[in-house]
């Protein structure tokens, strides 16, 4: 990887430049919180954001998308294409860039998901350093750092950015749109200092030792009933999770009843019908088994396949849960031998 330094006041040039041939998506303020939304004016962007309501997955796997159009008469697919316009996700924090790498494992390995791939291939990613908030626990999964999965990563050094250039495209757009200069020893020393302070900023130091073992060994622990009795099965945790990828597929008919579209929408393992099969059997009927499954899959199921947990410690689920359930609390309860 190589590096350049960009003065802070020059950053709008990069956003404006990218806007000329990309749709730029970045963090903006909305009702006192932040959301990733299309940027029409570089001054809208709020690079001091803590976290966004919805994660960036929304721009790679939309909450609802048409997979194909069909004709009922001959059961023929008439169109299974998606058009993905060039897009930039601007200002993603390391946790969110890491979340996309976890989604890549699911959608780009084995049978490739063509809808995700089309968008992913046409998305440029500009990362941005952040400040730990009280709900962040990316530090426990080492997702507070990111070394690939982006084109440019900007570390805020106060008056300037330390720009890590990961891809040819990243280097090319930086060169084209903004004045930058070579890195000096002082820049790198300042970068180290910023990283050092960043690492000191985390307040959640959860013990994740042997988590997969604990999940199996304590599968019947009352911990799950405790949390399950508080869980409302609202699915908010899954919707705001940058790594939850489950979806449902439905057919929608046109008024003529002869043609229609197959549509997929975000789904959650917390919903009652999620694991129900045709003749009445439901493999996870009660809330505690569904809550347990979510943790079990994140911290063991996914890990068993891809050697990483399916969580980047962004803390969105903690903020979204109406019952105040958080992964930090759940893991601590498991570590504590069932007492909370």
């Amino acid at each position: 990887m190589f590096f350049r330094v960009v003065d802070k006041e020059r950053l709008p040039d990069l956003i404006a430049g990218l806007s000329s041939d990309h749709e730029v998506i970045g963090p903006i303020e909305k009702d006192g919180r932040f959301v990733f939304a299309p940027i029409s004016d570089p001054s809208q962007i709020r690079l001091d954001y803590d976290t966004t309501l919805l994660p960036p997955k929304k721009w790679l796997m939309p909450p609802e998308e048409t997979m194909m159009h069909f004709n009922c008469a001959d059961e023929e697919v008439t169109d299974d294409t998606v058009v993905a316009s060039p897009r930039v996700l601007f200002g993603l924090h390391p946790c969110d860039i890491n979340s996309l790498l976890l989604l890549d494992n699911v959608f780009l390995q084995g049978h490739v998901d063509p809808y995700y791939k089309a968008r992913r291939d046409n998305t440029l990613i500009v990362g941005m350093s952040c400040t730990p908030s009280p709900t962040c626990f990316c530090n426990v999964w080492d997702t507070d750092e990111v070394h690939w999965g982006f084109d440019i990563f900007l570390t805020d050094l106060g008056d300037r950015y330390y720009a890590s250039l990961r891809t040819v495209k990243g280097a090319e757009v930086l060169d084209r749109h903004v004045d930058s200069r070579a890195v000096t020893e002082k820049d790198t020393a300042d970068f180290q200092q910023v990283v050092h302070e960043f690492k000191q900023g985390f307040s959640n130091n959860v013990d994740t030792a042997q988590l997969p073992v604990l999940l199996d060994a304590k599968f019947d622990s009352p911990v799950w009933d405790d949390f399950g009795s508080e869980c409302l099965s609202c699915g908010a945790c899954s919707m705001v999770c940058p790594t939850c990828y489950c979806f449902d597929v439905k057919d929608r008919l046109e008024v003529d009843q002869k043609s229609g579209a197959r549509v997929r929408t975000w789904d959650s393992c917390q919903f009652k019908e999620f694991a129900a099969v045709a003749h009445g059997q439901n493999f996870r009927e009660d809330r505690s088994s569904r809550l347990k499954y979510r943790y079990y899959h994140k911290y063991w199921g996914y890990l068993s396949k891809f050697e990483r947990v399916l969580c980047v410690g962004c803390g969105r689920c903690t903020l979204a849960c109406p019952s105040g359930i958080s992964p930090v609390k759940v893991i601590e309860a498991l570590q504590a031998g069932g007492s909370r």
Partner: protein
């Protein structure tokens, strides 16, 4: 702007795995009041040629406007060009399929999942235990063993149904009763005057068989409640945990390990199964 379209994006040469292909219904047999056996033929010759499957795998059947349902394949891989699906009328998709006529077209996607380890099973005795509709995936295995019968030792089939009216493939099994190369044992929970065979749950049949645990593979499929009891009987016969295979029904929706609906323990039934060994199943929480 350089738009990318799905049909232009390179997907390892496999195309869009979510896209069903038109298949013509070439035959429909009424098996019971609730189940029909559909024989399908994929219309596109290239797609048909590429549809090579193993016993125990499944396919997603599509009725556009209604949806998709995962159905295990009942025909043997050795029967090429046609795919048989034994379908119970139990949901929206299967209900719509049951209304289709011979010659109608439906959508088909597959083959999907991991089937029985047929090659590994060769040279051994086979003990198949089916309950109810569980005979459907095992039928593929039975038919494949039948087609390569010389490769196997003793083959025992135990099949239990609720009542004689619900015995699937009864006509074929009646013809097999007197065959010496298959030890076929049928039982029903509740008898009627058309039945002269054993009455009782399928596990009762274990008293009548001798099993050589060193060279016997087991294959089980049935309602979720059945597995525990059948495994208990197989373990009593000293069969190894890694020689007992079973197929699980879960909500396979995408069939390719993406949508998350068929999670069983730390695995997905659609890509890691639906066939698991008992050793694997023991390690899957909530599987049995």
């Amino acid at each position: 702007m350089n738009d990318i379209r799905v049909d232009e994006c390179a997907c390892d040469g496999v195309g869009n795995a979510y896209r069903p292909w038109p298949a013509r219904i070439t035959s429909i047999q009424d098996l019971t009041e609730k189940e029909k056996l559909f024989e399908l033929r994929l219309i596109d010759p290239e797609v048909r040629e590429a549809f090579k499957f193993h016993a125990g795998q499944f396919a997603e059947i599509s009725i556009f406007g209604v949806g998709e349902a995962p159905i295990s394949i009942s025909s043997a891989p050795s029967k090429q060009g046609f795919i048989e699906l034994c379908v119970r009328n139990t949901g929206d998709v299967t209900g719509a399929l049951h209304k289709k006529q011979c010659g109608d077209i439906v959508g088909l996607r597959g083959p999907l999942g991991r089937g029985f380890p047929f090659e590994q099973m060769k040279g051994n005795d086979i003990l198949l235990v089916a309950g109810g509709l569980g005979i459907a995936p095992l039928k593929s295995l039975i038919n494949h063993i039948h087609d390569e019968r010389h490769e196997f030792g003793k083959v025992t089939i135990m099949y239990g149904a609720k009542n004689p009216g619900e015995v699937l493939f009864r006509h074929q099994f009646d013809m097999w009763k007197h065959r010496e190369d298959f030890d076929l044992m049928l039982t029903v929970d509740e008898s009627d005057d058309t039945w002269d065979g054993p009455v009782g749950v399928v596990t009762k049949l274990f008293d009548q068989v001798d099993v050589d645990p060193d060279c016997t593979y087991g294959a089980i499929c049935g309602p979720p409640v059945m597995y525990k009891y059948v495994i208990e009987e197989m373990r009593k016969k000293n069969m190894d945990v890694d020689k007992i295979y079973m197929s699980f029904e879960r909500r396979m929706k995408c069939g390719i390990g993406k949508c998350g609906h068929c999670g069983v323990g730390h695995q997905y039934a659609c890509i890691d199964g639906p066939v698991f060994s008992y050793w694997e199943a023991m390690n899957l929480q909530e599987a049995i």
